[in-house]
Symmetry: C2
Subunit: 276 residues, 2 copies
Amino acid sequence: MKFDLPQTPAVQVSGKSFRLAQVDPDDITPFVYGADDKREASPRLLVLRQRLSDLQELLYAEHKRSVLLVFQAMDTGGKDGAIQNLMSGVNPAGVHVSAFKAPSTNELSHDFLWRVHAQTPKRGHIGVFNRSHYEDVLITRVHGLIEEKIWKQRYEDINNFEALLTNSGTVVLKFFLHISKAEQAERLQARLDNPTKHWKFDPNDIKERKLWPAYQQAYEDAMRHCSPAHAPWFVVPANQKWARDLAITEIVVAALEAMNPQPPKATFDVAAQVVE
Amino acid sequence: MKFDLPQTPAVQVSGKSFRLAQVDPDDITPFVYGADDKREASPRLLVLRQRLSDLQELLYAEHKRSVLLVFQAMDTGGKDGAIQNLMSGVNPAGVHVSAFKAPSTNELSHDFLWRVHAQTPKRGHIGVFNRSHYEDVLITRVHGLIEEKIWKQRYEDINNFEALLTNSGTVVLKFFLHISKAEQAERLQARLDNPTKHWKFDPNDIKERKLWPAYQQAYEDAMRHCSPAHAPWFVVPANQKWARDLAITEIVVAALEAMNPQPPKATFDVAAQVVE
């Protein structure tokens, strides 16, 4: 999947030399914005949403190819919010969001890609992964549940799996929502300070937070090893929610534009149809 | 499920005396509207969407009850559009849209509620049915695929099934998007006139259109027989898309307000949590 990257603060991972620390989670520079742009319904976002809606309908109508959007982030990174934003205005009949939580006993008794493969989008559809097979080289690695040779093997398995999807007509785009450690502290504290948000808080989040450097390292390694041109990773500065949402929508729209889905020709005699 | 019905053009089906022909598909009267109200993002709709988003989060957090929204309509009635509108702004992680098309061989070898039951929403979720088990007393009846005693039996089966859902904590709301025959003609013609919409047109739609009175009768009968207080049918005037969307959103928000979902209490010691 080759397409001209739109001007956004997002950085496409370029391979082995990529350094996560070089991306500023607060970056919004390429966006020229006025007073309105930070609003949830900024003019540019409304234009993009309409374009996304039209392109999705064409993708659905064409019924040949599909799109898989993978979302990963540290806790509070904004996966739910970003997905909700992206999906507002698209036809739910053509989108399927899959959230991957801790695997079940049944899922664990298969290979790590088994449950993920089952959720890949069918022709004409957009599939969205809220977490994904990448957790199997992240949390498992950080907690020492798998050895180095296993996670390195998994990079290869992941690349082969994503190549299969690409070869079968699925465009794979992967987004890492990049927040700073200080931003995470603010978001966790905000959940603690608001009783209606306590259900979103897990004391375990504080333990996980202490493993921040190990997670950043695991993310960086995974992105370095699993960024073929056909299934790119985008690191999206995500401290500013509006800029995060705008950047993601720009990239998805640009990818769909490049796919250029075409509505199928009528299989019936159009002139012969009379609506009475 | 009892709740104060908001002021909308929609009519709640009241039982055996209900007459579909008495609902005007063009009705917009209870809506006081200005120049802005017909826009896709009218002020009232934006307010309702935010409220819906907040209530959905609480329903999800509470994780005790669920909501099932059933959408039925004649061809071109606007099911996709209404669902897309309703879902814009809600968190896709808590919503599942199921479209029921012609049943597969496997589905046909089970009872007619089997495939439907499998798609009912889990706790905390909103399930949306694009077509539903009602097709089994509509298209099947109109085309003479089942006998009268079968469809009458099915009314009872449907009532029992919806009672099971209600008893298990699911609020069931059913919407019939009511367009006029003239409006359908316009919408079908618009598809024929636009080559990018030909994929949405099926010559069979014209044959089905000739069965309009039989379908209206089948809908009316189904609504008369399957409108218990706990699983009401709403007939939504749907010639005007903006009024249709506004009416549905008003009703869903009112129902969720009446459910009054509560976030669960924290299961951890809030004061002991320190974000460093």
